[in-house]
Symmetry: C2
Subunit: 315 residues, 2 copies
């Protein structure tokens, strides 16, 4: 098997998952366009099943298993959205899902995973604890590990979001995606550069979790150390496959402040009347912070998800 | 001129305003359907221009003015959404708008009205203060008063939301709308009963502002006294035209508790990832509170708007 997916793998993934995913809408806001002086098209993966783009990759991974692999199920560690995504995909295919979650995951994400019938094991919120716990489970069950982002089929699945965005809204000058582990970004870059070679692909990352920024600039994969950001979906470190794809296909990685993330999130909530999680706001934050030149350009933005604990927000 | 609009007036209104309004989407949620045991279709007027259905009626009123009337502009009193709607419609037609707003209106609504170039006069938050202030302005300017709901053209405009809902999603067993002044409800009832005579039309009202409930049950128009509810768009008392239409065309008016309104609002935010204001949640609150029998039925719900102050909510 190849190490890195190509556009044909994204096409194959789209065929695998088409009947299980939502083809999410692409929305625009004349109010926000006026503020930023550009024409923005938002691909609304907050409306995707489980509330995040992660369902695309997880679904493709589960529906790519052999009959033999299916029997033993799938396993992963995830801070939340990938866990829910894998659990639902496994439930749809009728196979077991073993999920390792950091005990600090938002309540809403824990509930969702349990609701899809997965077997959850909680661990300390460190990459090492997650990996050790997962290794034990895989050894015991023989389940296939589905890494949240450093996985061929997952990357191919995530690339279907940008494919749909371009199919539905036409060619772009720039496409922006947030970057955490790099699954969405690497899939986006493969689709965008294949379909619109002149399109710039730019990653936006919280300054408090800037391993992709540092890795991209230095040319060496540098893991995060104690990342801190409100964008809890972007705390993870870049994967190997993701880093390779990003190095060859992404035009730039820019960082944004926490203040701009909150400002961007609020702007989308207020003007577009849709709920996005903080990670989704990072690309618009980069535009508001003038980290990306979008002047009079046609810009695609992938809104990665809409899951957050509303417990403290509503009254 | 006729006192009460009929369905042909709603068709005319739709032609008048079609190119100025958004044809808002109709969304469904399999999660919420499972919880309530029915098939719900949400007409998303939170995505309408100015963030509320009110733009339909205001737009129809403004685009129904004679040349002579246009010169002197339009005037109204409104707790918020109608004010913004009338201001924007007037701006689109290039005529003056004079708006009387209670000084207690949410900040976001005051900002919106000012942003559309209207001339605002603030007053005490009582119906009497609103009417007196408005009468002075109309006497001074000669502007045409556009009442927020007790107005022929406004009712006809509001009826276009249910018309689109039925055109886009087919026939319904039940259609639910919130009721405040009754503009949306009366327009909805005219459209629904004309297009689907067997469809029940049911109004949902906060128990803390139950003048429509009491008026409907007693057969006499009883104004609100000191209404109190989180659903700030529903504090107003039923209008005369609205009461007449509701009496003849609405099947029932039910009341809901504040707790159920918050529960319904939260359910829509969490499951559908869209932002609605509390008034919009009142029909689903009626379903959750078992005030309406929807078991296995196909139900249309008009989500009236999405404007609320996020200042205290976000971080």
């Amino acid at each position: 098997m190849k190490f890195l997916p190509e556009y044909s793998d994204i096409e194959q993934a789209h065929q695998n998952i088409q009947k299980y995913i939502h083809r999410t809408p692409v929305l625009t806001s004349s109010g926000i366009n006026k503020i930023v002086g550009a024409s923005l098209f938002f691909k609304c993966e907050n409306f995707q099943k489980v509330g995040a783009f992660k369902f695309r990759g997880a679904c493709n991974a589960v529906f790519s298993l052999t009959r033999e692999e299916m029997k033993k199920g799938v396993a992963t560690h995830s801070s939340g959205n990938h866990a829910a995504a894998l659990a639902l995909a496994a439930q749809m295919r009728g196979i077991p899902a073993y999920i390792v979650m950091p005990e600090t995951s938002p309540q809403i994400k824990k509930k969702a995973v349990a609701g899809y019938g997965a077997q959850i094991t909680f661990c300390k919120p460190t990459l090492q604890a997650r990996e050790t716990t997962l290794a034990e489970i895989v050894a015991k069950t023989g389940a296939t590990e589905i890494h949240p982002y450093d996985n061929f089929n997952v990357i191919a699945g995530q690339g279907t979001a940008a494919k749909e965005l371009i199919e539905d809204a036409g060619e772009f000058d720039v496409i922006l995606a947030p970057v955490g582990g790099g699954g969405l970004l690497s899939g986006t870059a493969i689709s965008a550069k294949h379909l619109v070679p002149s399109c710039k692909v730019i990653a936006a990352e919280p300054a408090g979790a800037d391993d992709a920024f540092r890795s991209f600039r230095s040319g060496k994969l540098i893991p995060s150390e104690n990342p801190k950001t409100i964008a809890d979906g972007l705390l993870t470190s870049l994967g190997k496959r993701n880093f390779e794809i990003i190095t060859s296909k992404v035009d730039d990685v820019v960082t944004v402040s926490e203040e701009k993330i909150v400002e961007a999130m609020r702007l989308i909530w207020e003007r577009m009347k849709i709920i996005i999680e903080p990670s989704s706001a990072v690309p618009l934050a980069a535009i508001l912070g003038k980290k990306v030149d979008v002047n009079e350009k046609k810009v695609g933005i992938i809104l990665s998800g809409g899951n957050l604990d509303l417990g403290n927000l509503l009254f």
